[in-house]
């Protein structure tokens, strides 16, 4: 059974990330990005990527990374989710990095690991393992493309198979899209250059699938962190907001909703830890070291996929519900632009649609656990 708790190392990573965010992320920044999308947020990423080494968390030490695993990345995402931090950790340091690792790349990973450059896997943000198609010409809506330096695009190769190609910034055109969640803004990406092939055929497909699977597995931790912020913030509000001469948190109508939310998050935490833990158990660094001899046993691979589908089906809805409850229980204040609740609601709803909706993940799960639809 996978370890579902947090290790001391993970907890200490958490507190480093949290204190860096407290220092470097102005609380008003997420809301400001809706009015001023061009705000320069690169200093925040530099603090996290450079000083803490988060950009290379999943990259082996031999390629200039930290050589950590999915469990550590999950803890980082919990903290980034709490703060709705506008940084490309998930899109570059998890998803694009996983694609490159799986493809056996040694050229680009060192520059990503150092935080010098960021990369993006160019597919619609709704794509999931086994449910994407090669890009012809352009793709949208793509998350993490604005500000990226390296564009990984699954295309159709000359023989008709998949060719995963890398393009530089001058080989693509980017058109920003007004997004529901402007803290992770979307774009239309059009390929204009030739690019270089990174992987082809089954290898390319495996790299894209691995990247999307890792993204989905770890997005659950971002959703968990966001939901925990919503619960904690709302509990504090209910303790201090007085109506009818008593804190509103003393009314059972409020209490019971928060107790139900707590239960939901205890459950979401277990689901997210299971997804991160099983992903770490089938470590991709192993695949990188000995390409072609993937270390995950069939049984382990199935458990990994079940855990990912369960975590996405559950945590996506849990985060949305947490944000919706936070808004309602803050009353009129929750509806204002000034209160930070709306930035969490927008991220939660966008996250629910990202990397496969809960409904799609339940459909995948039905196949995995042999409960056919008909």
């Amino acid at each position: 059974m996978t370890d579902l708790l947090y290790t001391d190392v993970e907890e200490s990573l958490r507190s480093s990330v949290r204190s860096t965010l407290q220092r470097s992320l102005d609380e008003g920044l997420p809301a400001r990005l809706y009015d001023e999308p061009d705000t320069d947020v690169s200093a925040l990423w530099q603090a996290l990527a450079g000083q803490l080494g988060l950009a290379g968390l999943l990259v082996p030490e031999s390629l200039g990374g930290v050589g950590a695993g999915a469990r550590e990345a999950a803890v980082v995402l919990e903290e980034l989710g709490r703060a709705v931090a506008p940084v490309p950790f998930l899109t570059s340091a998890v998803i694009a990095t996983t694609a490159l690792l799986q493809a056996g790349d040694e050229q680009h990973l060192p520059t990503l690991a150092s935080g010098e450059r960021t990369a993006v896997l160019v597919l619609p943000w709704t794509a999931r393992r086994g449910a994407w198609s090669a890009v012809s010409g352009s793709a949208e809506p793509v998350a993490g493309a604005l500000g990226a330096d390296l564009f990984l695009v699954p295309t159709t190769g000359e023989g008709g198979g998949t060719s995963l190609r890398a393009y530089g910034r001058d080989e693509v055109e980017l058109e920003p899209i007004v997004s529901l969640d402007m803290t992770r803004p979307l774009a239309r990406v059009t390929v204009t250059g030739q690019g270089d092939e990174i992987a082809s055929g089954a290898g390319a497909e495996a790299a894209v699938d691995a990247a999307l699977a890792a993204g989905a597995a770890l997005l659950a931790s971002e959703q968990l962190g966001l939901a925990q912020w919503c619960l904690e913030t709302t509990v504090e509000y209910a303790k201090t907001r007085v109506q009818f001469a008593r804190p509103i948190g003393s009314f059972q109508a409020i209490k019971h909703r928060l107790a139900d939310l707590y239960l939901l998050l205890v459950s979401a935490q277990a689901a997210a830890r299971q997804a991160a833990g099983t992903l770490a158990d089938g470590d991709l660094r192993g695949a990188h070291a000995a390409r072609g001899t993937h270390s995950v046993a069939p049984q382990g691979a199935a458990e990994q996929q079940i855990a990912q589908a369960v975590a996405q089906a559950f945590c996506s809805d849990a985060a949305v519900r947490a944000a919706e409850e936070a808004l309602q229980l803050h009353g009129g204040i929750g509806m204002t632009w000034e209160a930070p609740v709306h930035t969490r609601l927008k991220r939660a709803k966008a996250d629910q649609l990202a990397l496969g909706t809960p409904d799609r993940h339940r459909s995948d799960l039905a196949v995995l656990v042999d409960l056919p639809a008909s």
């Binding site: 509990v235 948190g249 059972q252 209490k255 707590y262 459950s267 277990a270 008909s374």
Partner: protein
């Protein structure tokens, strides 16, 4: 790690037990008595009290070995109150004498226990119990009425909360006792449930005499003692490990074997419950890992909520899945079962029995209050009886 140093011989002790008592042929009571004597009943209990003073999580090592060897297990269905509630309470608050007298036969299930807590006027508000215990020499005389007493008709002993002082606020006037259910002052009447069965009883106590040495904790300390017991009950109800265990397993088995139940609407609902029960299983596993690592989580109260919700929804869904069968019922004949069962009989019984899951052992509403106040730290609700002597509280 210090546990390992204290007892390098846990596996050796299991080996010795299995060597001296053939698990296949030794009568259960004899085997369980020997398991108790070897300190393998509850390894977290002290030596001489069925344990070895190890961490609670290490019991798994013993139980897995014994299960693999096909050894007899304590009868949780019949003696859940004894094993889950009486034993830890007697250990925590009982005198040496009580521990020596009661723990061993309790574990061997040669003595069965029941719980005399709830009353017609004290359900969720358990601290409002009105059953009186009045001192008489070195005995107490108990008069009152208890209700929802599972298995009273099979029980040898009971744990009892009674009022010993009405002049102080409700929580301060309670005392905890161990009572012999064969006392002539005890009358047990079956209480029939919506399932047709009578798992429960009403218990009338008239002039029941309890020796003072059967008191657990000091006079007036009964609330604290009882609360410990209730927490144990909640942990016991929350346990469960395998994927697709419980009600969901019955539904998935039907789904896989009977294509006629597969409609799009049913599939959507099935997958939602599958995910929810799987996540609750993982949360239970996470709780267990925390306990094993010496970090007991506060989430067990919340887990009971999830368990009740899912059991009720999934058993209801099971009826809709096979409507012709759902219209039937296995048997309405009034019986008094040996122990509670959530999975037995037909789908109609399971549906009706699950309704009790959000009431027994603390209603879901009370559990939400506990989570909100003790875990989240929200302010307490308005309580008009606070600080008022019990005799002056309107009832």
């Amino acid at each position: 790690m210090s546990d390992q140093q204290q007892s390098p011989d846990l596996q050796q002790r299991v080996d010795d037990l299995l060597a001296s008592h053939d698990p296949e042929t030794t009568p259960p009571a004899i085997f369980l008595g020997a398991q108790y004597d070897a300190g393998l009943a509850w390894v977290h209990f002290p030596q001489g009290r069925g344990g070895l003073g190890l961490s609670r999580g290490r019991q798994v090592e013993v139980d897995e070995r014994l299960e693999a060897a096909g050894a007899p297990r304590p009868d949780f269905a019949r003696n859940s109150i004894g094993l889950g509630m009486a034993a830890p309470t007697i250990l925590a608050f009982g005198s040496q004498e009580l521990q020596e007298r009661y723990l061993r036969p309790l574990f061997a299930c040669t003595e069965i226990w029941c719980q005399l807590f709830s009353e017609p006027g004290a359900g969720s508000d358990l601290a409002a119990v009105a059953t009186r215990a009045v001192p008489d020499g070195d005995e107490w005389v108990v008069d009152g009425q208890k209700v929802w007493t599972s298995g009273a008709h099979n029980a040898d002993f009971a744990i009892l909360v009674a009022r010993t002082d009405t002049s102080v606020p409700k929580h301060a006037g309670l005392t905890y006792f161990l009572v012999d259910m064969r006392d002539p002052g005890i009358e047990i009447r079956p209480l029939r449930q919506i399932t047709g069965e009578a798992e429960f009883n009403e218990v009338f106590l008239t002039g029941v005499r309890v020796p003072d040495h059967n008191r657990v904790g000091t006079v007036g300390e009964g609330w604290k003692v009882a609360t410990t017991t209730l927490n144990n009950e909640r942990v016991a109800i929350s346990a469960g490990n395998d994927r697709e265990a419980g009600q969901i397993g019955l539904v998935t088995e039907r789904w896989r074997t009977d294509p006629s139940v597969r409609t799009p609407g049913n599939h959507t609902e099935l997958m939602q419950w599958w995910v929810e029960t799987e996540v609750t299983r993982l949360a239970g596993e996470r709780l267990r890992q925390g306990l094993e690592a010496g970090q007991p989580g506060p989430e067990s109260s919340a887990m009971k909520l999830a368990f009740a919700q899912q059991a009720q929804q999934v058993t209801g869904f099971a009826l809709e899945l096979a409507p012709e069968e759902g219209l039937t019922y296995h048997d309405w004949t009034m019986v008094r079962p040996e122990g509670g069962s959530f999975l037995g009989h037909g789908p109609g019984f399971r549906y009706l029995r699950a309704k009790g899951n959000s009431i027994e052992g603390g209603t879901s509403e009370i559990m939400r209050n506990i989570v909100a106040e003790r875990v989240l730290g929200l302010p307490p609700d308005h309580r008009p009886d606070k600080g008022i002597p019990f005799k002056d509280v309107p009832r």
